[in-house]
Amino acid sequence: MRAETAAAGHNLKRTQINWFKYSSPQTFFPLAAKLTPWFGAAAVLLCAIGLYIGFFVAPTDAQQGDAYRIIFIHVPAAWMSMFLYVVMAFWAGAGLVFNTRLSGMMASAIAPSGAIMTFIALWTGAVWGKPTWGTWWVWDARLTSELILLFLYFGFMALQAAIDDPRRADKAGAVLALTGVVNIPIIYFSVQWWNTLHQGASVSLKSAPTMAATMLLGMLVMALGFWMYCIATTLLRVRRIILERERRSDWVAQYVRTMK
């Protein structure tokens, strides 16, 4: 019979290979603080350029007039909303596989950004619909998929909010996010199929004006801007989550003291 008590300590973590260096919340926390302003500035700059291209450089559309210009917000937001779900599922899955705490925190931090992007895509879609088709909401395939995507984001956030233990919240969220990611293509195609069955392709965002090169450029710049914005807000949020979850640790206590 052998029994001993080893000193409690975090010396295990130090021996991890360098690759995982920033997977520790403690090392990532200051890095995130350093990166946030850069991404924030990039977001402001790119969005300004994108909006300038969208409102002043891109030509007026023959059919829709200036109303179409909302696509410079609508389309990039829709792109980001789907992209962010995949990124969120990636982090959540990585957390499940490698058991790194930071991955789960990243996933929780991305979710609100994703939901906001989805909401923007839905809202601008409705605003676009009013002058174009005379109605706020059309059961267009893309709008409907966006709506379901919004529900998926809400489900993820509600599940995490309902679980008190952060470790369980991360893992449960990961299973849900991965299930969602398998489902999203299926949802997308079934909604598209449903749309062709019930409405025909007559009313669809696909009938948007044929893309001029400047329009595409504007949308791409805006998408980059949104991307930078999402990274910046995610980093802000992940810092808050790190502080909250690590509140018992010495380094957070020290950090809080220096803030005073």
Binding site: L152, V175, L176
Partner: protein
């Protein structure tokens, strides 16, 4: 492995038989929800015929979701779930047995009673088979996907409402294709393609969800 599978199915059916009221409640809910639609929408026969597949499918979705919360919660509360997690049988197999039993108890009765309800909506007789078959292929998928949500929300505050928030968006493809199968047949086209898609959904769900359910159960039981 098969012994454990058979044992769990047998046990769950036995428990359900000894508490028949629970099974009937979900079935009655299905019947009542379906019967409410004509009251809300009026009794115009053409309208009723058009909405019948959608109404029956949505009601089936809700009814099968109602019974989901019970799927693991009792086993969780009395400690049986722990024994299942620590059994010599892979958890995936146990989970398949649980889902199968759940479907037999709460999915199959819906499938069987749906044609009778469809008659209330004056659905054409040739479509009754299509409706039944589409539900037969679709309701197991509902049980499989729903079980993931049931496992994730195990033991949480307000689990039931949260469960519907998680699961209903994931039900969308099943609903669309399921109700669409009847729609397309009523439009005079062949529904064969849709049955194939439904079959594919069933295969995909049966392949992936046992993993997800098992993982979720281990997470929730910690």
């Amino acid at each position: 492995m098969l012994t454990a599978l058979r044992c769990v199915i047998h046990r769950d059916l036995l428990l359900a038989m000894r508490r028949r009221a629970d099974v009937l409640t979900a079935l009655l809910f299905f019947v009542i929800v379906v019967s409410l639609f004509p009251l809300g929408l009026g009794n115009e026969p053409n309208l009723l015929r058009t909405i019948a597949p959608g109404v029956i499918w949505v009601a089936a979705l809700l009814a099968s979701m109602l019974s989901l919360t019970r799927m693991f919660s009792e086993d969780h509360a009395d400690g049986t779930l722990e024994q299942m997690l620590l059994g010599s049988t892979p958890l995936g197999v146990i989970v398949v047995a649980k889902v199968a039993a759940h479907w037999l108890v709460s999915g199959l009765p819906l499938v069987l009673i749906a044609p009778v309800l469809a008659l209330q909506f004056d659905l054409h007789q040739s479509l009754l088979w299509t409706l039944t078959l589409s539900l037969l292929l679709g309701t197991p998928v509902l049980s499989l996907i729903g079980a993931i949500g049931a496992a994730l929300t195990l033991g949480l505050r307000g689990g039931g409402i949260l469960l519907s928030l998680l699961v209903l968006p994931l039900y969308v493809p099943v609903l669309i294709i399921g109700a669409g199968t009847v729609d397309i047949e009523s439009a005079g086209l062949s529904a064969q393609g849709h049955f194939l898609v439904q079959g594919a959904f069933l295969v995909i769900a049966a392949t992936f969800s046992p993993w997800a359910i098992a993982a979720a159960l281990r997470i929730s039981a910690e």
